[in-house]
């Protein structure tokens, strides 16, 4: 690996691997040791947010545990920052970049304000191509429709490519209950499936895991060597284990990045080609598509295809951009259009633009909080900036604290290819939480008190000298303790001799 000044020195290669063979097996003949002598100091993988029923998810607590696992946090932060840098390099190479963003936003806003017409057009054209189109009001109905399709074909094994919508619908547990075996074919999703853990990022689902974590999962579930962490070995293990499952599957399921109304085609973007395998190997192809995925024409598709992979991964195009317009001869193709709260969100004055989202993950890559917390700390299907503005629409109480896991710095809105004003919507959600009594009592009380104090010059002037003189005279152990959050990671500000107000009065004398 060449010197990359942006990577922490610990991430750079320290030298040639320990006499590995092609297959990654450790050599132990001749003078090689029988067992590895390096002490196995493995940093345990920090797990996600603690979910306790419907209680508000505490993202902070999970973030702190992630930060307390420095190897994981460092790798996660560097990896995603690198994706952000790669995105920037692509951007600089496209003179029309900001114009493309304007177009993408305008296309989505136009479509969403005419959503019923475009869905109708899509359905008409898809049906004319021989595609069977279904409608699901919610997650439960989506799952039941898919189950019915599978059962009518006697399908028992379903291979699928990545789809955040299916995560939203809790699809895998539902299918497990009904005796259908689901195999995720995306490497990151498969790792997470085998580890019984949710994906942590919409594009790179296992980005929070070190190779040692993956080696442990594969050793337990696929029977590979637990001590071999070579990434090529791990990827090859998964390829060989999954291939026979693909060729023997009864049905395949994909998500949908874009549904083109004028041709009735569904577009899916992957880097592995696993959507193509899932759709083309078995005789039955099912597409799960959120209703907001429809776009009017092929000319518009060009804009999104040019923006998606550049924003997500800093690569001009995904390795595979697949267009499914109709079933193969002898095959069947179904599209399940899913609402699950989207039409209601369309009616939210401040939040409907969140429906423009094309699930690129650029906001997660740039978010300084996400990079240091890991996606699992949000305890929801969607994490990071986009998660903060989407999740409360699914459960306002459970996700009432998420809008505060942000510094409102605005970087997310700048990288969003469809120009969602993410950071402004985060601020708007804080207002909603405050007004609907979702703020913790202590915080609300503090804000009320602050509001009263700051509105009264007399009260305020009286309070200030107390505050800074206390700082000047209290011993260190009183200032720096568990109750004083500021002092955990920082020194407190030095208290000056007087306030500006006092200085002005003394030295400039003028009253107003």
């Amino acid at each position: 690996m060449s010197e990359n000044p942006l990577l922490h020195r610990d991430l750079l290669d320290s030298g040639p691997p320990e006499g590995m063979t092609r297959g990654g097996k450790r050599l132990d003949h001749a003078e090689g040791t029988s067992t590895p002598l390096r002490p196995k100091v493995r940093e345990p993988q920090p797990r996600g947010a603690r979910i306790r029923g419907n209680r508000p998810v505490d993202q902070s607590e999970a973030a702190n545990r992630f930060i307390a696992a420095p190897e994981h946090e460092k790798m996660h932060d560097e990896r995603l920052w690198d994706l952000r840098q790669k995105r920037d390099r692509e951007m600089h190479g496209i003179p029309e970049w900001e114009e493309l963003r304007d177009l993408a936003s305008a296309i989505k806003e136009h479509t969403l304000t005419h959503l019923d017409a475009y869905l109708e057009q899509f359905e008409t054209n898809a049906r004319a191509n021989g595609v069977q189109v279904h409608w699901a009001r919610d997650a439960g109905e989506h799952n039941r429709i898919v189950l019915a399709i599978l059962e009518s074909h006697g399908a028992k094994r379903l291979i699928k490519s990545k789809s955040m919508l299916t995560e939203e619908c809790d699809f895998r547990p539902f299918m497990a209950e009904h005796g259908i075996e689901i195999i995720e074919t995306d490497l990151g999703e498969r790792i997470q499936q085998l580890d019984d853990e949710a994906p942590s990022h919409v594009v790179v689902p296992a980005v929070h895991k070190l190779r040692a974590d993956v080696a442990q999962v594969f050793a337990e579930k696929l029977g590979s060597d637990p001590d071999t962490e070579d990434v090529h070995y791990l990827a090859e293990t998964q390829r060989e284990a999954t291939r026979p499952l693909i060729t023997s599957a009864d049905a395949g399921m994909t998500g949908c990045n874009f549904a083109v109304a004028e041709t009735g085609a569904v577009v899916v973007c992957t880097n592995e080609g696993n959507a193509d395998l899932s759709a083309n190997t078995p005789p039955l192809h099912i597409v799960s598509a959120g209703i907001e995925k429809v776009i009017p024409r092929l000319d518009h598709l060009a804009v999104f295809v040019r923006l998606l992979s550049r924003s997500a991964l800093g690569s001009p195009m995904t390795q595979y951009t697949s267009h499914f317009r109709g079933p193969r001869a002898g095959g069947e193709m179904h599209v399940v259009l899913v609402d699950n709260g989207r039409s209601e969100r369309l009616g939210m004055e401040k939040f409907w633009p969140s429906l423009k989202c094309i699930r690129c993950g650029a906001c997660m890559n740039t978010c300084p909080v996400f990079r240091r917390s890991g996606g699992l700390s949000y305890g929801a299907t969607y994490a990071g900036p986009i998660g903060i503005i989407l999740d409360p629409t699914f459960n306002a109480h459970k996700y009432s604290k998420l809008p505060f896991s942000s510094t409102l710095n605005g970087s997310c809105s700048n990288v969003c290819p469809v120009k969602i004003n993410i950071h402004e919507q985060i601020a708007d959600w804080r207002k909603v939480m405050s007004e609907t009594h979702e703020l913790p009592l202590m915080k609300k009380a503090m804000m009320k008190a602050a509001g009263a104090l700051l509105a009264s010059p007399a009260l305020y002037r009286a309070a200030l000298p107390l505050a800074d003189s206390a700082l000047r005279h209290l011993p260190r152990f009183i200032i720096y303790n568990r109750l004083n959050a500021w002092g955990r990671g920082r020194e407190v500000p030095h208290a000056p001799k007087q306030t500006f107000h006092q200085w002005y009065k003394e030295n400039r004398g003028r009253e107003k």
């Binding site: 902070s60 970087s411 809105s413 700048n414 700051l454 920082r490 000056p496 500006f500």
Partner: protein, 247 residues
């Protein structure tokens, strides 16, 4: 030109020298600067937390204090941003709208209104890293943003480069948020401190002797982190450098 000086609550309490430097600097340009005695705060602590109703009285007080002035200048980009973009818990009368529109952060004001092109009294022979507060950068647009494909510009650099002896150093992550985030620094302390630690490490590795910013709120957080980690760099407000501070 009657200028109303707005000194943010935390500058009033912790950064006396920033207030003095701002006042003196504006006076060097021959401006008639007044400091309304009854001012307190712009309302940001409350609105930042979504508590807009609780901010209304403070916002009204702000408008009452500053209505008489032609310009309102403050050594805080985040406060200027709050006033121009978010002061809407109160009824938007003509007076309110005008007060909002004429509130400027110090660098903006010197650059765009006064069009200051020299600081002959100033000299700062040190290696300096510039920190742009996120609301100042992405809200007030005082400089170009790394996420956007736009022509590079920076109002703070334009002003600071007129100071004799100053040398700029560059960070690996120039406009990544430092993690202060207002109430975030206390309520989401773990991530805030980690972001601050990473930021001050970047500043140290860039070779900065000083870090400067038009927002001492961010710097309060960074300085706290730097001191805890034993980093040597010092923190100074842009007002102080432009006003002639030598260290």
């Amino acid at each position: 030109m009657r200028v109303g000086l707005f000194i943010p609550c935390y500058v009033d309490a912790f950064h006396l020298e920033v207030g003095i430097a701002t006042l003196e600097l504006l006076e060097r340009f021959g401006l008639d600067v007044e400091y309304p005695y009854d001012q307190t705060c712009c309302g940001q602590p409350m609105t930042n937390t979504g508590c807009h109703a609780e901010s209304a009285a403070t916002e009204a007080l702000f408008v009452r204090n500053f209505a008489p002035y032609e310009y309102i200048v403050t050594p805080s980009g985040s406060c200027a941003h709050q006033v121009r973009f978010n002061l809407d818990a109160i009824e938007q009368t003509e007076e309110v709208k005008q007060v909002r529109a004429k509130t400027f952060e110090l660098v903006e004001f010197l650059h765009d209104v006064i069009k200051a092109d020299a600081f002959p009294w100033a000299e700062f022979p040190h290696k300096v890293a510039l920190h742009n507060n996120c609301q100042t950068l992405r809200g007030l647009r005082v400089a170009s943003m790394s996420e956007r494909r736009e022509e590079a510009f920076s109002k703070p650099i334009n002003l600071l480069s007129k100071v004799k002896g100053i040398e700029f150093v560059h960070l690996a992550r120039p406009d990544e948020c430092c993690g202060f985030g207002g109430t975030f620094s206390v309520f989401e302390e773990g991530v805030s401190a980690k972001m601050g630690h990473d930021k001050v490490l970047d500043q140290h590795q860039s070779g900065a002797e000083y870090v400067t910013s038009s927002d001492s709120s961010c710097m309060m957080h960074q300085q706290g982190c730097a001191e805890r980690l034993g980093m040597p760099q010092k923190y100074i407000h842009i007002a102080q450098i432009l006003n002639g501070a030598r260290s």
